[in-house]
Structure formats: C-alpha cells, structure tokens
C-alpha cells in the first residue's frame, strides 16, 4: 500500500494491531529498562504512555518501531515481528528532527522520495499534507525560518505523507508552549478522524494524555512496568471545550494521582 491508496482504504483499515507479551529490554549487562511488559492496542486505538523519566517510554516506542530488538518476550505489529523501515509505521521524534538543508516541502517529501514514489505523485501529496497541517505557504521555507510549533507541524506532515497505519510519537509537543500544544493536540485528532491510525504517544503532560487517548498507561520506573491503566471514556471527535468539563478534570486528577504514586520519593 503506497501513496494515495492510503486514503481509499480508510474505512476498511483503521490501523495496525500491536501486541507486546512479556517484553523485557536491557542494554548490555545493565539493569532491565523494561521488564515483563504486556500490552495490546486495538487497530485505531490511541494509547498514551506516561511516567517518570527513565521508565523506558522511549525505549518502548523504539522496540515497537523495530529500531532495537527486545531482550525477552514477543512483539507483534499487525501480526508480524517489528521491522525497522516497515511500510505504514512511522515515528515522530522528540524534536521536529527536520533536515536543516532541505526546505519544508523537501523535508515532507523525504520519506516518499526514499521509497521511490514518482515525482508528480510526491509533489501532490506534499501539497495536500502541508494544507492538512495548516502550512500551505511554508513549502519554500527552511526549517530555521519557522517557529517551534510550525516545525512540529512539518514533522507531522512528513509522518502523515506515508499514510501511516501506526504512528509512534515520542514527546512530540514537549518543547512547545501550552497554547501551541493544545492547538496541535486538536489538529492531530482532527487529522486522525480523516485518516485513522493506531497511535502510541509518549508524553509528560497529563492533560495532553487525557485529551488525546483512548487509554492511558501509567508506567513506573526501574524497571519500566505498567503501574496503572486508565480508560478514557470520551468519544471522538473531541472538542476543545471538553477540557473544561468536570468529567475531564476528574480524569486529570485521577491520572495525576496515579502518576504521583509511581514517582520515586
């Protein structure tokens, strides 16, 4: 499945199924970063991972992306073992991670170019993606000419260009101010309504986790384990006003409490 076909398959294919069973990861002879980790995400589910630093959140994403192999247990992505560079799986990195020597359009185009899409289809797709993230006029700019929020939008456009079935997001909005972050949260959900994908979202923000997710996984550190799972009952599409409702605030309180209980004192 490549290019534009992604759009037509939407209703049939809400995203990839992901399953981790008894997964452990240690680097060299060091202590386990993650131990006995089991988790399943349904196709199209939005799962947030939240927890103290060093709980292995980023490592989990890298395991699912196939960038590093597990030391124990099994991971299945869409029924197969994770494989780095697999079609339909994309990672959004902590900072926007744009190549400074490529203009915005060329950055968005990069994954399509690397997999050999024809130039015409690529350019059309890039234009559509930049429209989608609200940056139709930034195509000719270099990354240094953009604000942090705009750079992150370009990074999202780049990830969406391949019509991902599984998107792994590693604290993508951590460096942004709260207003920009809220806007990008809303836009991310809107994009997902149009073009669904399974998402694993690492964050330090409780508010963000509650607003975006179907489910929040609270992790404890050393080694990383699931401390608590919190289901988020709100239906999609979610409106910005949701953040002001008592139910939303109650869930934030619950998640914050769960998070506090796993923090080392």
């Amino acid at each position: 499945m490549r290019g534009k076909e992604g759009f037509n398959n939407l209703i049939m294919d809400p995203g990839l199924h992901v399953r981790l069973a008894g997964v452990g990861k240690r680097f060299g002879a060091g202590p386990g970063v993650i131990e006995e980790f089991s988790l399943a995400a349904a196709p199209g589910e939005f799962v947030s991972l939240i927890g103290p630093s060093g709980c292995g959140k980023s490592t989990l994403l890298r395991l699912i992306a196939g960038l590093t192999p597990p030391s124990a247990g099994e991971i299945s992505v869409g029924g197969a073992a994770p494989l780095a560079g697999r079609e339909g799986v994309f990672l959004i990195f902590q900072d926007a991670n744009l190549l400074p020597w490529r203009r915005v359009a060329a950055n968005v185009e990069l994954p399509l170019m690397l997999r050999g899409d024809p130039a015409g289809a690529r350019h059309e797709r890039v234009r559509a993606m930049l429209d989608l993230v609200g940056l139709p006029h930034a195509a000719g700019h270099y990354p240094w000419q953009l604000s942090g929020g705009m750079r992150m939008r370009v990074s999202i456009a780049r990830a969406l260009s391949v019509a991902p079935r599984l998107l792994l997001l590693d604290e993508p909005f951590g460096a942004l101010d709260e207003m920009t972050r809220d806007r990008l949260n809303e836009d991310l959900l809107a994009i997902r309504e149009r073009d669904p994908f399974t998402a694993f979202f690492v964050t330090h923000s409780v508010m963000e986790a509650v607003f975006l997710s179907n489910r929040i996984i609270v992790l404890s550190a050393n080694p990383g384990r699931i401390a608590r799972e919190i289901a988020v009952p709100f239906s999609y599409p979610r409106r910005p006003e949701l953040r002001e409702t008592p139910e939303f605030l109650a869930l934030i309180a619950e998640t914050s409490h769960a998070l506090r209980s796993v923090l080392p004192r």
């Binding site: 992306a65 960038l67 780095a84 560079g85 697999r86 079609e87 799986v89 994309f90 990672l91 990195f93 902590q94 900072d95 991670n97 190549l99 400074p100 020597w101 990069l110 994954p111 170019m113 690397l114 997999r115 270099y142 990354p143 240094w144």
Partner: protein, 262 residues
Amino acid sequence: MKRATRWLFPLGTGILLLAVWYGAKRLWQIPSFVLPTPGEILAAAWQERRTLVASVLITGRGALLGFVAAVGVGFLLSLVMAFSLRLKQSFYPYILMLQMTPVVILAPIFVLWLGQGLPAIVAVTFMICFFPVVANTTMGFLSADRGWAELFVVCRATRWQEIRYLRIPAAMPYFLTGMKIAGTLAPIGAITGDFLAGTQENGVGGIGFMTIAYFSQLKIPALFATGVTACLLGFLFVGGVSLLHWVLLRRWHDSFIGSRRN
C-alpha cells in the same frame, strides 16, 4: 556608520603600518637592499611584471592541481573511513604519520621519485593539503544527528540514499572548513615545492623559484614583490573556497543564518 567602520578600521591599521615602515627606515637609515620601501617594492613588481605573472601562473597551477587532488582523495577516503571503523583504524595512524613528517623532508624524496618539476610540486602541495581535508570531513560524516539517522532507518533508506541525502549534506560544513584550511596551505605548499623542486624556463620559474633567483641576483625589492604575489595567490584560493562555502551553505547553515534567526 557600521558599514563605514568596516572599511575605516582596517584602512587605518594599514596606514599606521606604512607609517611605521617608512619611519623605521628613516630613523635607523636602513638601506633599500635590506628593507625597501613599499613604493620601491611596487616599482620592482611593475618592472618584473611579466616574470611575476608567469611565476604566479606556474605556482598557481601546481597549487590548484595539488589542492584539487587533496580535496578529492581526502573526501573519498573520509567517506570510506566514516563507514568502516576497521578501515579507519587501519588508515588513520598512517595518515597521521604522513602529516607529522615535515614536508621539507618529504620533498627531496618526491624529487627522487618524480624528478624536478610539476609532479613533485603537486605531490608536495597534496601532502600539505590532505590532512585538514581528511580530518575535518571524517568528523563531518560521523557528526550527523542520531535522530536523522533513525529517520532514514524508519524510511528504510538504502546505504547509498543515506550517504547521498544525509551524510554528505551533514558533512558539508566540515568538508568546507577542511577545504578552507587546505586553501590557505595550497599556495604555501606549491611555493615550498618550487623552492625545493622548481624548474625554470628562460629564467622564469614558480614563485618559490623566483625567490631564490632574485635573492642570488640581490634584486631585493623584487624578492619582496614575490611575497606580495604569493599573498595574492593565497587570497585567490581562500576567496574561491569562501565563495563555494557561501554558495553551498548560505541558505541553511548557522554560519550564515545565525544573525538572521528570530
């Protein structure tokens, strides 16, 4: 105002230096065969203009050939070493050894092997330009951000795509820095080469050769004039590399956009 000071300060320094030069000459009554005045040097340069232009062309040719060879070979060798730790470990100590060996020792060996003339001069220039290119470029190839490298893995880029679209652009600033250093060294290398292995035709050789010739003829102002031409040749090289630097990096690299960033 800012624009004016950019020119006024170096100009002022120049005038001051000239004043000291003329003052010292008059104060200690230094004869012109020891220290000619700038005017005498310019006059000698004009008188010897045909010879000097010819010598700059001869030396410039050797410098350019050696420089281009060093940049090309240095770039390719760095690329190879950046992608194989084993090759890097195998080559690097010997590259360092060559760099440690003074060129004045290597030059006679080159003459022994290649004879007097252009090939030996190019070899000397190559030797002196090679290391800065290799050291900087190798560093550049290894300096691509880890996040970028992972992006290319996630996109399942081929090795060649990674080199073409990630490693080479990321190494460009380092490569150009190496080139800049090599650019300042290339004329020095070629003049050293002239000096030790230069040949002449109708009494005209490279800049290094003419230095010896003028010295033995006691044409001291002309001897000083060869210094001026060497200096001009150096500026030509540095200017060329700076132009390349500007063309390749001005749109995105911090060295140009730093002051424009919001």
